[in-house]
Amino acid sequence: MDKTIRFKLNGKEVAVETSPERMLLWVLRTDLEHTGTKYGCGEGYCGFCTVLVDSKPERSCSLPVSKVEGKSVLTIEGLSKGGRLHPLQQAFVDNGALQCGYCTPGMIMESYALLMRKPNPTEAEIADALEGNICRCGTHKRVIAAVRQASGALKMKVVDHDAR
């Protein structure tokens, strides 16, 4: 049975008519046309589909949309503001921390969550936080460097997407 599910997506209220059991990934990509969040495995192994739900990283491929009802969802599309890249995004660009770019949205969202919890992580802590995010192109070294740069260069402005 379809139901109206309401939540905040990148700071804006959205309402979707859908079966509440459908996974958030597909609702985002199809119903809401936010295609930045990617599918990779459907079972929680790759992290390509990572989004933040109330500031916590979640695998949207395995999260029924009913679970975000009334909550705040932040996707890769929600990071840049007024055409300006978020410093974490900029750090990925500056460090060449992407090749094909397919894993990148998930990498960034997972790193974003890390920096919210821990504004100045060590390389080991970054690697640990990103252990669940696959990159087939092998950008690992540069991803770690990018997150380091972001944490060093900025006092991670925790974007309060509720306030936006």
């Binding site: 295609t35 599918y39 770019g101 252990e131």
Partner: protein, 728 residues
């Protein structure tokens, strides 16, 4: 050095690498219509000159070379912006940025004013496909030449306009100016002024000497970075067309299992679902991909069992039995003579399991058919081959099929094949609506064209001075690339059995094909493992032994560069240190890699601690891009060394997802150092693959150095290492 920053301008009118959005643009364009599409830019016709480098794609397909007409490669807009066209595809390897740099350099325009359209059959020059680390090596010179000619014509036009002889003129920043009074100038935009110009040059102008380069050779950030960090970059699965349906296809449980019956009644009851059938293609179409995927599981289907009886264990004897054809790759001297000279004979067999490409973006395609025209968006490495294939399938004229490869999420050879595109085309035809087929990870592991399992027998000999005097190398099914030794060996023969990495009838239970550094990554594993074994037999350390058996000065320089950076001293293995070395010449790119590993004897787990790679790629267009490719090769390569292996049995692929197919994760990351060995006088060689091809050997050699166990099979899983240690 801080990398130069360039911004790509995404042109929404032409989907310049932003990918298509499906708005109602022209469906297909013939050559002359392209000129219209290209707008009021430079339209010039050139005298046919001597041919450009024959296109590598000619080997596959139609023997078509790159065109001689610069209009096919670039356009100078009325605003002075330059758009480059390339049939190559951006798969993550950074070709987009490198081509922008080459165009900016040769045409003398600011890098930031160069846009690129890639992988679009309607507007880009024919290209055989993006593989073999050939984009810069083969397409690059063609693009450079086209740009040099365009610049020559602009100078000629300026000569009239400025009233100065051509040799008194120079070009800079998108303008032609008088050398002696630089304020007298005409911009490219002025010169073209939106008019169609026809000029012939009887002689092709020379391309710039390297010493004059100001753009290429400088580390430059990827121009697709911003689009990829914001989620704006469009991949095939991100294409949304009005009325588009998503397909979920009924799959057999095993390769070779034929469909007997399918009861689709339950699937049909799913609201909005449409079940379609075309022979053995049975699919559910739905406006939501996840609902389609759910519905297809409701189909009750029966399949014949697969005739295959192969599995990971019996595959190797099978590969020896089915040697379909024999190619002598190289033969020189006389093996009997070599055996006579040898005081020590070293013999060993090596093995490699099937490996998946596992690109992050699974194979995806969208097809829209409209009357006698069709449009395809697909994650493919070969849009022009797809164009031919889909035209034939749908019975359409080739120019009426427009194929676009938007950003592709990794290929590594796996997206040369495009069964998903055929499925989407068949389904779109039946449905009368645009259809998207996006494989699930399980489908990706099932239909991938794996790196073939392969086996090797090597018999070699050393003389009393520890020179290699005999090399008899038999390779079964790997493909012959990099199977010739780089060492000086007077008596040698290299034989390839089987149909190469693409396989042949009856060899493999599923599809196989090119996998990043095809053939090479297992050939080098066998060769360079064996060289280490010979060094050990000779009582020498692996570095001195290699240098003693090499005369190629370029190779020696690369090996020395790696050794200098590595800093450790090699000793006769096993030294207990865990140091390894492997070298190769991959299609003209020379490299030497050294690694340090730690092996946990209790678990068999290998941790690669440090990898350094020295590479001579000839002229480097974008050092930043080259480093990224080498680092990526090293990191990706750890997987086929240590864990990646397709498990299969009786036609079924047992590996279905990343839980059992382990890719290198963050905790695996070694310290990686790259040395780009300067060699600007050599034309650019390939860079996307070479560094991955030595990874199996360098790690195997380091493991042997650490624990005195020579691993003869890839991947060197913890279980295999434990077993080998127990047998020691």
């Amino acid at each position: 050095m801080t990398p130069v920053r360039i911004k790509p301008r995404i042109k929404d009118d032409e989907y310049a690498m932003s990918g298509p959005d499906g708005r109602g643009d022209e469906m297909s364009l013939e050559r002359r219509e392209f000129l219209k599409l290209a707008g009021g830019g430079l339209v010039v016709f050139f005298a046919a000159g001597d041919g450009l480098d024959a296109q590598e794609g000619g080997q596959r397909g139609q023997g078509q070379g790159y065109p001689d007409d610069p209009n096919a490669y670039l356009k100078v807009g009325t605003d002075g912006r330059v758009t480059g066209f390339s049939g190559k595809v951006e798969l993550g390897q950074g070709t987009l940025t490198a081509l922008q740099m080459m165009l900016a350099e040769e045409l003398d325009v600011p890098l930031a004013s160069v846009d690129m359209i890639m992988g679009d059959t309607a507007v880009c020059p024919y290209d055989g496909g993006t593989f073999g680390s050939r984009s810069i090596k083969y397409f690059g010179p063609a693009l450079r030449q086209a740009a040099a000619e365009a610049r020559g014509i602009l100078v000629r036009l300026a000569s009239t306009k400025l009233g100065a002889p051509e040799d008194a003129l120079a070009t800079k920043d998108g303008a032609v100016y008088v050398l002696k009074s630089p304020s007298k100038k005409a911009t490219y935009a002025d010169l073209i002024g939106g008019k169609k110009i026809e000029v012939r040059l009887d002689k092709k102008p020379p391309i710039k000497p390297i010493a004059a380069h100001t753009v290429t050779g400088k580390p430059t950030l990827r121009s697709d970075g911003p689009a990829k960090v914001t989620g704006e970059a469009k991949f095939s699965g991100d294409i949304r067309l009005p009325g588009m349906l998503y397909a979920a296809v009924l799959r057999p449980p095993a390769h070779g299992a034929k469909l007997k019956s399918a009861d689709t009644s339950a699937a049909e009851k799913v609201p909005g679902a449409r079940v379609v059938r075309d022979g053995d293609l049975v699919a559910v179409l739905h406006a939501k991909p996840d609902v389609a995927a759910e519905a297809v599981t409701l189909i009750k289907a029966e399949f014949e069992p697969s005739p295959s009886t192969l599995d990971n264990g019996n595959i190797f004897p099978h590969l020896k039995e089915v040697t379909a054809r024999t190619d002598v790759v190289i033969e020189s001297g006389n093996l009997d003579e070599g055996a006579k000279l040898a005081t020590k004979i070293v013999e060993k067999s090596y093995f490699a399991q099937y490996v998946a490409h596992a690109p992050s973006e699974p194979h995806t395609a969208v097809v829209r058919i409209d009357g006698d025209k069709a449009e395809v968006w697909a994650s493919t490495q070969s849009p022009f081959r797809v164009q031919q294939e889909i035209a034939k399938l749908l019975g359409l004229d080739v120019p009426n099929v427009r194929v676009r490869a938007p950003f592709v999420g990794g290929g590594f050879g796996g997206k040369n094949a495009g069964a998903q595109i055929v499925e989407a085309a068949r389904l779109a035809k039946i449905a009368g609506k645009p259809v998207q087929v996006a494989w699930s990870r399980k489908e990706e592991f099932f239909y991938d064209t794996f790196r073939p399992a392969a086996t090797y027998d090597i018999r070699s000999g050393l003389d009393a001075q520890n020179r290699i005097v005999l090399w008899d190398y038999k390779n079964y099914h790997a493909g012959s690339r990099s199977s010739q030794p780089v060492y000086d060996i007077p008596h040698k023969r290299v034989t390839g059995y089987g149909g190469g990495f693409g396989g042949a009838e009856g060899v493999h239970p599923f599809g196989t094909g090119a996998w990043r550094g095809p053939g090479s990554n297992t050939n080098i594993f066998a060769t360079e493992s064996h060289i280490d074994l010979m060094a050990e037999t000779a009582g020498m350390d692996p570095l001195s032994f290699r240098l003693a058996n090499l005369t190629d000065a370029r190779m020696k320089k690369v090996v020395q560069a790696a050794a200098d950076k590595f800093g450790h001293t090699f000793a006769k293995a096993p030294s207990g240190h865990g140091y390894g070395i492997a070298i190769t010449d991959y299609l003209g790119t020379y490299l030497a890699t050294m690694a340090e590993v730690a092996v946990d004897k209790a678990s068999g787990h290998v941790q690669v601690l440090r990898v350094i790679c020295a590479q001579d790629t000839g002229e480097v267009i974008n050092p930043e891009g080259a480093r990224m490719q080498i680092e990526g090769c090293i990191t990706m390569g750890l997987g086929y060394c240590l864990t990646e292996e397709i498990r299969f049995k009786d036609g079924a692929v047992l590996t279905e997802n990343y839980d059992t197919y382990e890719l290198p994760r963050m905790s695996w990351l070694p310290k990686i150092e790259v040395v780009l060995v300067d060699n600007p006088d050599l034309a650019p060689q390939g860079c996307g693959e070479p560094a991955i091809t030595v990874m199996g050997a360098v790690v195997a050699n380091a493991v042997n150095d650490a624990i005195g166990v020579r691993m003869d099979m890839l991947p060197m899983t913890a279980a295999r290492i434990k077993e080998a240690l127990a047998k020691k």
